[in-house]
Structures are given as structure tokens and as C-alpha cells.
């Protein structure tokens, strides 16, 4: 059994608009049999935080292309992407690049 973990989520670059305009969220992921990975986190976010237009955030079982993900301030492409196993106190940032200037 994996104990519940507390993590910080941040949404920026316009992605926050899909989450009531809120940029920072402190969340606790509940106990489950498997360790939490980013793939499961995305499902959890979709069920618990995402307020509108899910198609602008998720595509298939990943984020929509054009949304950058940083885990503890490093590109998730260096961290195993969806398979990264979340640790207590991790910080995950989602930045949309899809908004114009």
C-alpha cells in the first residue's frame, strides 16, 4: 500500500483558465495499492480539479500536445514522462504554450 502523498500542482501560460483561474493547488493524493505515477495523476486531475473544456488539457492518456510539464522544475521528458513515480512534496507544473501573445 502506498501512503497518501502531498504534492503541489501549478498551472500557467493560460492553462490556469481551465482550473478556475487558480495557478497553485496543494493536493493530497489518497492511499492506493500502486504507487502514484503521472499517468494516474492526470486522471485524478481530470476528475477532481479540471473545471472546463477537458479536451484543452488532456488528449488520450497524456496531456494535450503543446502543454509543457515540469517535475520539480525539470522537463518531464527527462523524468520518464507518464511513468514518473510521484514522491511526497513533489512539484508538478503544467504550462500551456497554446495561448497567443
Amino acid at each position: 500500500m502506498a501512503a497518501p502523498i502531498a504534492i503541489q500542482l501549478e498551472f500557467g501560460g493560460g492553462a490556469e483558465l481551465l482550473f478556475d483561474g487558480l495557478k497553485k493547488h496543494h493536493v493530497t493524493l489518497p492511499t492506493q495499492t500502486e504507487p502514484w505515477d503521472v499517468k494516474q495523476l492526470l486522471v485524478w486531475i481530470q476528475r477532481n480539479l479540471l473545471k472546463e473544456r477537458p479536451e484543452l488539457f488532456v488528449q488520450g492518456d497524456s496531456v494535450r500536445p503543446g502543454i509543457l510539464v515540469l517535475i520539480n522544475d525539470a522537463d518531464w521528458e527527462l523524468m520518464g514522462e507518464l511513468d514518473y513515480q510521484l514522491q511526497d512534496h513533489d512539484n508538478v507544473v503544467f504550462i500551456s504554450t497554446l495561448h497567443g501573445g
Binding site: A74, D75, L78, T97, G100, G101
Partner: protein, 343 residues
């Protein structure tokens, strides 16, 4: 396991570069990003010492990074440029007024003088007022056409020699795709050019120093440098066709990240066979701006707004231009066709 920087082999890598696949630490990334923009500027000879250069600034990620990097490189490499910020206020409450606040902060942060030109002062119409008349279907046409000319007018007011814009690699690739999809051969041929030639007095040459910079890197540069930028959607309907091209491109990029630079490469190396009919550039009979028609698009759109015929500039109504120029009355049928707005 943290990945080490493939450049310095000392610090923890923070990103994987889409263009090269290299994993870099923060410092090596800043260095590589800035150096590549410098290379772009130097090898394309974008500027000459002593020039006055206007940076088109919207407060968004691209122009904020552009202003930051231009200021930094101008000092680091002694370009000898006099830089200033130029913004356009389209008059969109809740969107542009907020982003202009960001530009005003950038003015302080980068110590670059800022000039704002507004649609209201230039055309007598804000976008809010235009949308009230034309509806949400074609308003992006008005905004795009007016913005292009507004930047030129602002640049002439400021007596700048050049304007640089924040168009990035993704934008250029997207435009190549759009021009292919629309069969717009004239634009397809010139859209990958890094700078536009001077096209007469009403048009100030433009260039794109970030032409080869990936959007991902621009956003991460802004993020790691903690640059102050504004990001929200325009409150009026987004340009749907561009949206499809953009989504397609992002999907391609997620499968193969070189797609973006590859599309630009294709665009750069296309040559149009002889005998393809191209519009001949002339000047607008009314305002003197470049135009391939008797009246420029901006004057036609404005005439339509002022006469309560919003569809005048939407679609092909070229044969009505002489009637407008000579101020002849339109027939009832013509009026009806041009009046209806779509919401």
C-alpha cells in the same frame, strides 16, 4: 535519477531541447538559446549599427522574450541599436487592456521606451465596437488587417528603421501549412523570409529574430528566467482555421520534434514555377499603403464599417471598389449582401 547536462556535465539538466535532443542545465540552456538568436541575427544581417529598432510588444510570451533577449544581446555584442517597444491597443476590454499593463511593466523592467498606438485613434473604431457591428465570425479579419497597418503607422511615427516581431519557429511552420492549405502561393513564397524588404514609404521593414526558436524553448526560457508575461485567450472567437493548423502541428511535434524546423526548411526551399500568376503590389488610392488592389484591405474594411456594410471587406467584392472610390451609391441588392452580420 537526475540527468546531467550534456554540455557542462556538472549540473542537473532541466530540459530536453526539441531541436537537438540535448539535455541541458539552466545556465547552458540560457547560453545556447541566446547564442542561437545572436547567430540568427548576425548571419541574416538583420540590423546595422546605429539603427532605431521597434520591438512589437504584446505582453505575451514571445514578444516578452524577444524584448528581453534583444536588450541583452544589444548590450552583450554591441549591436549599437536604439531599441524601443511598440504596442498596439486593439481596444478589447478584459484582454488587451490587461496585457498592455504587462507591456508597461516591461517598459520599466527593460528600460525601453514604450509607445502605444490604438485602433481607436487610428481608425476611429475599437475592436469592441467592431464586434458589436460585425459579430464574432469575421472579426479576426478586421483585427489582423488593422494590426499590420497599425504597427507600420506606429513605426513611422517613431521613425524606426525596422520592426522586429516575436514570431517563433512554430508560428512560421504554422503559416507555411496554412498557406499550403489555402493555396496562397504569393504568401507561401514570402512567409518564411526572415525579413521583409522595404516595400515603399508606408511600410517599415520587419524581421523575426526568433524565427528558429521553438515555442517550447521560448516558454521555458521565460519560465526559468521568471519573465513577466501575460497569457490568456482573446475574448473574441479565436481564428478557427489557424487553430486546426496549430493542433495538427503540435500533434506532429509530439511524434517527431524536428517536424517544425523541417516544415520551415520545406517552405524556405520551395520555388514557384514561372508563369504562376502573382498579385502585383501597388499602393492604395486612398491612404497610400501597399495594396494589390485599388483600395487596401484596411480601407475597404473601414469603409464597410463606416457605411454600416460590415461584409464589404469579407470575401471577394473587388468589383465594388470603384463604386466606393467614386462614392457611387450601391444597389439595394448589393447593400443587402453586405449588411448581414453573423453572430
Amino acid at each position: 535519477m537526475p540527468v546531467l547536462c550534456s554540455c557542462c556535465a556538472e549540473k542537473r539538466a532541466v530540459l530536453k531541447r526539441p531541436k537537438t535532443g540535448h539535455s541541458l542545465c539552466k545556465e547552458c540552456f540560457f547560453c545556447a538559446f541566446e547564442e542561437e538568436v545572436n547567430q540568427t541575427i548576425v548571419s541574416a544581417k538583420l540590423f546595422k549599427p546605429g539603427e532605431r529598432v521597434g520591438i512589437a510588444a504584446s505582453g505575451g510570451k514571445d514578444s516578452t522574450v524577444l524584448a528581453h533577449v534583444m536588450k541583452l544581446l544589444n548590450e552583450r555584442y554591441n549591436y549599437g541599436l536604439e531599441l524601443m517597444l511598440l504596442s498596439v491597443d486593439e481596444g478589447i476590454t478584459g484582454y488587451r487592456d490587461d496585457s498592455l499593463e504587462t507591456v508597461k511593466r516591461n517598459e520599466q523592467q527593460y528600460e525601453l521606451p514604450l509607445t502605444i498606438v490604438s485602433y481607436e485613434e487610428l481608425y476611429g473604431w475599437t475592436m469592441d465596437a467592431i464586434v458589436k457591428q460585425v459579430g464574432l465570425k469575421n472579426n479576426c479579419t478586421f483585427c489582423g488587417v488593422f494590426r499590420r497597418q497599425a504597427l507600420d503607422r506606429g513605426a513611422i511615427m517613431l521613425k524606426v528603421d525596422k520592426i522586429c516581431t516575436g514570431h517563433n519557429a512554430d508560428d512560421v511552420a504554422e503559416t507555411v501549412l496554412m498557406n499550403v492549405l489555402r493555396g496562397d502561393i504569393a504568401r507561401l513564397r514570402r512567409c518564411t523570409a526572415i525579413s521583409t524588404a522595404s516595400e515603399g514609404e508606408a511600410v517599415v521593414p520587419r524581421c523575426k529574430p526568433l524565427k528558429y526558436a521553438y515555442e517550447k524553448e521560448i516558454v521555458l526560457y521565460a519560465y526559468f528566467k521568471k519573465l513577466d508575461y501575460f497569457s490568456t485567450e482573446c475574448i473574441y472567437s479565436p481564428n478557427a482555421y489557424r487553430g486546426y493548423a496549430r493542433t495538427f502541428l503540435k500533434d506532429l511535434e509530439s511524434v517527431r520534434s524536428s517536424s517544425i524546423i523541417d516544415i520551415i526548411h520545406s517552405g524556405e526551399n520551395l520555388s514557384v514555377r514561372e508563369g504562376v500568376k502573382m498579385p502585383v503590389q501597388g499602393t492604395c488610392n486612398r491612404c497610400g499603403y501597399i495594396s494589390s488592389q485599388t483600395l487596401c484591405k484596411s480601407c475597404v474594411l473601414l469603409e464597410g464599417l463606416n457605411r454600416g456594410l460590415p461584409k464589404l471587406g469579407i470575401g471577394k467584392h473587388n468589383r465594388l471598389h470603384h463604386k466606393i472610390l467614386s462614392r457611387q451609391p450601391l444597389s439595394e441588392k448589393e447593400e443587402r449582401k453586405l449588411k448581414s452580420a453573423e453572430f
